[in-house]
């Protein structure tokens, strides 16, 4: 057994241990912390699977943003915990365990019996990379070869934000999402937000920009930008905008809107829906990506802030 395999087995074992801990531990807060650690380890596995783009996404969204979301929810639901109902009966747990073992066994069998040689679209994506002028194959798939998925995924983001906003109580309809964070303006958190935000914004834009040719892209960059926005909000240096704001809503639909316009233009002047003329492919893709990174950053930040809870009174720092 090589050192690499030993390392991989250890990584998988620690990951499974964390997964079990997340499921069986008593306190919800501990489960949340376990899940965050799990998310970071999964990012390491993605690196071992040679999928650096996914590793970046998983670390930023699966580990980082999901962690903030779950920790916030666990903190707000904490006083409900003692009143949580008793554990389900033995029969239900035994059935669930049997079902899980069956599922795992089936999947494990499938993994061991996967066809050889493995089917792959990698050669096709390399052979057609000339058409976009970008050299990161994952970005090519996201923005050109399966652009429909990416466009519809932007629509899902818009639908999710509509869903979250429609949970606002009447008094806060159209107001600002989430609680108002008050922190010491000269405290440690505000200091960190002032120092880290500019660096983080540069890093976010860099990760987005380098995505054309290296691992990175609009999703990863957008997640970093969203977390910087969140940091400033938590430190009390900024406030979430009222959700009735028109510029905000324009940004939220910019990604899917521009994608749709370019797609329809492809239908009118080109070969098919979402087809780019080869000469224009790179500028078009970059344009869509700029709109997308704005939409992603704003949507992720607002999804984390939750439903509107306060009226849209003017904010004084």
């Amino acid at each position: 057994m090589s050192i690499a395999t030993a390392f991989e087995i250890m990584l998988a074992a620690v990951l499974l241990g964390l997964g079990i801990w997340t499921i069986v531990v008593r306190e919800t807060f501990s489960a949340t912390v376990g899940f965050v650690a799990y998310g970071l380890l999964v990012a390491l596995i993605w690196v071992r699977l040679d999928a650096a783009d996914v590793a970046l996404t998983e670390a930023a969204i699966g580990g980082g943003l999901s962690g903030v979301l779950l920790l916030g929810a666990a903190a707000r639901l904490r006083d409900a915990e003692p009143m949580a109902e008793a554990a389900p009966g033995k029969l239900l747990r035994a059935t669930a365990a049997a079902l899980s073992v069956l599922t795992t066994a089936t999947l494990a069998g499938t993994v061991l019996l996967l066809p050889d040689p493995a089917p792959s679209l990698a050669p096709a994506s390399v052979a057609n990379a000339w058409a976009t002028g970008l050299s990161n194959p994952v970005t090519n798939v996201l923005m050109a070869f399966r652009a429909m998925d990416t466009m519809l995924e932007k629509v899902v983001l818009v639908l999710a934000i509509v869903g979250v906003w429609s949970l606002a109580p009447d008094s806060a309809w159209g107001g600002r999402p989430g609680p108002r964070h008050r922190a010491d303006p000269y405290g440690v958190l505000a200091f960190l937000a002032r120092l880290l935000s500019p660096v983080g914004i540069v890093v976010g834009i860099y990760v987005f920009w380098t995505g054309a040719n290296h691992p990175g892209g609009a999703f990863q960059g957008g997640a970093i930008l969203a977390s910087m926005w969140l940091l400033a909000t938590m430190a009390g240096l900024a406030d979430a905008p009222p959700v009735s704001s028109r510029p905000l809503r324009l940004i939220l639909v910019a990604g899917s809107g521009l994608f749709l316009i370019v797609g329809l233009a492809g239908l009118l002047f080109g070969a098919a829906f979402l087809s780019y003329a080869p000469a224009l492919a790179k500028p078009l893709i970059l344009g869509i990506e700029v709109a997308m990174v704005l939409t992603i950053a704003t949507t992720l930040g607002l999804l984390l802030s939750g439903a509107p809870e306060r009226s849209a009174e003017p904010w004084a720092p």
Binding site: V188, L189, F191, L192, L195, L196, V199
Partner: protein
């Protein structure tokens, strides 16, 4: 020349891994929040620094080296701030146990 670089890398990364291990043991074994933070931040800062130091000779270009160093600096900044915040929350919440 490459042998010397590899030796430096191995030595520094191993030392870094040792500090990470020590910090993790401290995190698991120490009795209360403040001592656990002490173990975690001291060891992690030094451990991460040594790992970065060990990777520097392996960097292909000055740009990559600068990226590595800035990762260490950002880690230091985040670690220092977060441990301050946790310590303060623990003191105010009175949950130093």
């Amino acid at each position: 020349m490459s042998l010397v670089r590899d030796m430096i890398s191995i030595a520094a990364v191993s030392a870094g891994a040792f500090f990470f291990l020590a910090g993790t043991v401290g995190l698991l074994r120490f009795p209360d929040t403040l001592t656990r933070l002490h173990a975690l931040t001291k060891a992690d800062n030094l451990g991460l620094g040594l790992v970065v130091l060990g990777l520097l000779p392996q960097a292909d270009s000055l740009r990559d080296a600068l990226k590595l160093v800035s990762i260490w600096l950002l880690g230091l900044l985040a670690g220092a701030t977060v441990s301050q915040l946790i310590a303060r929350a623990a003191r105010q919440g009175g949950s130093i146990r």
